[in-house]
Symmetry: D3
Subunit: 62 residues, 6 copies
Amino acid sequence: MPVIMVEGIPLSADQKRELVAILTKSASSIMNVSEQAFQVYIKENSRDNIGVGGILVSERNK
Amino acid sequence: MPVIMVEGIPLSADQKRELVAILTKSASSIMNVSEQAFQVYIKENSRDNIGVGGILVSERNK
Amino acid sequence: MPVIMVEGIPLSADQKRELVAILTKSASSIMNVSEQAFQVYIKENSRDNIGVGGILVSERNK
Amino acid sequence: MPVIMVEGIPLSADQKRELVAILTKSASSIMNVSEQAFQVYIKENSRDNIGVGGILVSERNK
Amino acid sequence: MPVIMVEGIPLSADQKRELVAILTKSASSIMNVSEQAFQVYIKENSRDNIGVGGILVSERNK
Amino acid sequence: MPVIMVEGIPLSADQKRELVAILTKSASSIMNVSEQAFQVYIKENSRDNIGVGGILVSERNK
């Protein structure tokens, strides 16, 4: 405990590694909880499965 | 803000487009928040990964 | 199944009643799933607990 | 209602079947809610998408 | 890792204690993951915030 | 889009402000997405509602 969930579009392996490390490090220092207690879940959603402003992200610039 | 998450079984591209548009439109008018502020995430789960009444959806009618 | 989660700021009883009814009705017709199968969770977050653009919603117009 | 979400790593079909059955059965008896009302979602995350202690699960024993 | 989220109505302290213990124990043995790795979050929702079949749980038997 | 959810125990107003700012800033630079697009939800759970290792956090040191 705690748990951090990141909902977004697909990322590279490097981005995921960095994201897990930095989010854990910064949240750990702010929340005064050891890094070991943190779990981070990176949820990669297809652009066909996310809507922003009522439009699928995959179709926003059509 | 706000965010709407829909957990269900796989959908077609048309269903996802329509779902994002209609959920955003109706929630926007009820919650008095501009459509632009809404994010909708459609979570397509395999029927092997959902249980209803203690039985996997993929095995309910066996 | 399915489940719809709405994350947002506090709402009135009328807004919640209407939101549950309309989201269920529209999603049911698009997803071809009976209304009875739907669960909707309305998550009311304090404006101190939501950040948009890196700033707490409660402090965005200061 | 209720809904149980399980976030973890990939599981076999047998594990998912058993998990749905047992979690529903035990939660139903403790919460005094009929098993039929329960939905369980098993979220299988790749080890590249989960961080524990700031390190991707796929890289923890390197 | 893993994380179990339970979304439902308010529970007593005893129910929450029992639920955390039993869900962890059974999921641990099925998923072959040590109990120590598990986090369980019990989300108590007011009946005004949950809709089943398009109707607020607090108003279903009116 | 994206959305970051932080599940943990209660925090102070300062901690929440800082957490929203830093998580948004670091995730924005790693994911190459403008800070304005980010939503962060801080979920404060009572220690009676979180289990770690099968024991309620509120009872772990008894």
